[in-house]
Symmetry: C2
Subunit: 421 residues, 2 copies
């Protein structure tokens, strides 16, 4: 095992506690041979005999007695290189590393397949929720049409707290940090990067081709205010950071991570707190939802150990039976410009006659028609205007926004959200 943090300690403990059950399952014992750590002297939550700890990764990766490598150290390098080295040395790899799988998944899986090995990565997306394996096996008869997910626990905790009136963005973030749901530097979660990594991993698998994280359009949740949540509720919506991948009629694939309004009745709208959920739409199956704990030591351990048992079965039986990577053709990624969806706009305007007419004119010229307007006076001279549009084209919407921003009657365009579902 590479790494002995929260997940690594969980894996070590469970392998020890459940050794008997796992041996019965496999027909032979599954033994944690060595653990590579940075500091063998450090005090740890779960104590391992010092003799099993080492700082020398090469000695483990090259040890012919070791058949399975569990990578739970995180970060892109040296984890990525270690995984390549392990495959090169003929070992199966189990990893929880979303950054490595998002950036290098296609090449690692291709290498594993050439060597008749496997890289298993259930723990890299959605914690313990089984989603990678179902996409690989159970949904295989389907052509996947769309993936829709709430797959970042940190942001979902913050958005849920804000929607319940438990504080503004900064307060909710501070509370998430205090509870261990957000890191000291939360940028990766807040800006959507983490969700984009996970979407790239899921989309690569679902659409049979390499999707790189930089092909995912990405917006974070930083700009949202408590007023947006009040308006959303008034209009019958929840606000979630969604990760969406959809194949269009011409086979193009659009990938995006951004906050969005979802009708309250939608399954993803009800996924609250640190829960995660992935909805898969297949041509045969229709929509299927997988929901559970997206993070945490024990759920992630559950996924790592399931993969470990799966790979161990292959070692025992002498080989993998399945195709593990079907990166067929280059996927054609389409831009946001042609997206057609509905939009929510919250802006602060001068409270005088004619302002709404002027905004409506700009939108109308861009062929955007208005579905709902809420206007609230905030003080004598300023009003807050909330507009929901009918379906419109993203490029037109962006053009209209560029035209609205400099208007003297518009003090601020506070929030701009896509409305999905």
């Amino acid at each position: 095992m590479l790494g002995l943090g929260v997940v690594g300690s969980g894996v070590a403990r469970i392998l020890s506690e459940k050794a008997e059950s796992y041996a019965r399952e496999l027909g032979c014992p599954l033994e944690l041979s060595r653990v590579v750590v940075r500091d063998t002297g450090k005090d740890r939550a779960y104590a391992i005999e010092p003799a099993r700890l080492t700082t020398d990764a090469a000695s483990v990766l090259e040890d012919p007695e070791i058949e399975l490598i569990v990578e739970v150290m995180g970060g892109e390098e040296p984890a990525h290189q270690y995984i390549r080295d392990a495959l090169g040395a003929g070992k199966y790899v189990i990893t929880a590393n979303k950054e490595v799988m998002a950036k290098h998944g296609a090449s690692l899986l291709t290498l594993a397949q050439e060597r008749k090995l496997d890289v298993l990565y259930e723990a890299s997306v959605g914690g313990g929720i089984p989603i990678i394996a179902p996409l690989k096996r159970d949904l295989l008869a389907n052509e996947i049409v769309a993936l829709s997910a709430v797959i970042n626990g940190t942001t979902n905790y913050i958005l849920t707290a804000m929607s319940r009136g438990e504080g503004d963005f900064d307060e909710a973030l501070a509370k998430a940090q205090a509870l261990g749901y957000a890191e000291a530097d939360p940028a990766n979660d807040i800006e959507g990067t983490d969700a984009a990594y996970k979407l790239a991993i899921l989309a690569s698998l679902a659409f049979h081709g390499e999707v790189r994280p930089d092909q995912v359009y990405c917006e974070g949740i930083g700009g949202l205010t408590n007023r947006d949540f009040r308006y959303a509720r008034e209009l019958g919506y929840a606000i979630k950071l969604v990760a969406l991948a959809r194949r269009d009629a011409e086979g193009g694939l659009r990938l995006r991570v951004h906050p969005a309004m979802l009708p309250e009745g939608e399954p993803l709208a009800k996924v609250d707190g640190v829960l995660n959920a992935v909805e898969v739409e297949g041509d045969l199956l229709g929509r299927t939802l997988f929901e559970g704990q997206g993070a945490g030591a024990m759920p992630t351990t559950s996924a790592v150990v399931a993969d470990l048992l799966d790979a161990a079965h292959s070692v025992v039986s002498g080989g993998r039976e399945r195709l593990i990577w079907r990166g067929e053709a280059a996927l054609r990624i389409v831009s946001m410009d042609d997206l057609r969806t509905r939009y929510y706009l919250r802006m602060t305007v001068t409270d005088r006659p004619g302002v709404l007419a002027q905004i409506a004119r700009v939108l109308g010229e861009a062929e955007i028609s208005i579905a709902t307007v809420l206007q609230k006076a905030t003080d004598e001279r300023v009003a807050e205007l909330v507009i929901m549009t009918h379906e419109a084209q993203e490029a037109s919407m962006q053009r209209a926004l560029a035209e609205l921003r400099p208007l003297p009657e518009i003090a601020e365009i506070g929030t701009f959200l896509r409305v999905e579902g």
Copy 2:
């Protein structure tokens, strides 16, 4: 393939339409060689060359060229015998047959394992929702604590319609029949038998031992009235036909299918219409929910074909890599008597002072304390009394009911429901 009904026709069509994609997946073509039907001359929704149709099951089961048998004929016999014969002849079996798997799963899986074959049965529970495979593989690191499910689409359609005020039980059933969601003879669904079959299949897998359908305590939905749904909403609950399996602290397993009240916030309470959902509680993972279309030709076809591709991979690679049946020790099934839960009682009583006191006395003597009482006058002399209890023991509750029934002040005990969650 044995059978060419709705699911069989779906499988035949999809195997033809997606032949190229599946061949790429497997590295060789997957060909539907022969189909056993009762009448080769019948007109069918999906036309198959007459030369592939036969009424002679033995000729197919004994054909050494055929490596996989798909059983979609339904019913206990001769389907069960055909599956045994297929395994005996060295063939993998894929089945959608819940009755056969509920009644004979353990012996069929044992036989398959002895022969290094497999019986795959994802389609037997929850239509296209992946739940069998996740239990076999993805949740394997966990000790399963409980299964909670809404797994009968017919009854869920009826209960959802009643909760929305779309008619009484008979009207909702008639509508379900008109839409093809309920059969002409709906007893199997309405009485809970279908859900009990599915729970026996899931519990056998989750708890590593044989669970027979007759070990599942079973009550149907026949007695519910629209008034129960109104009271449920007033109290903050939904009414669902639930299938529950839970291991108690002493390792005993309690299995039950009955209508129950669920708090509106519970995930299963929100599973509406013909949708199905299974919630699995594992010691590492916590609670994970799988939700989707529980029936229908295409979802079921999706599950059958996924299993078919899985088995075909094994044929191509020369064997199964995993333990498929771990029927370890006899499971100890515990009776309903020691169940502790809350209860809902709706009764018609004489509207005069002292009646509630008398009922409260009977309940109190059985150590059942009352949480909520709603009393509604229905006409001058009769009132409807709705009681929610605190947690109490099932045996005490049944004793109290037996004592209440003959009381002259109680005209009728209309509905008795357990309150879960």
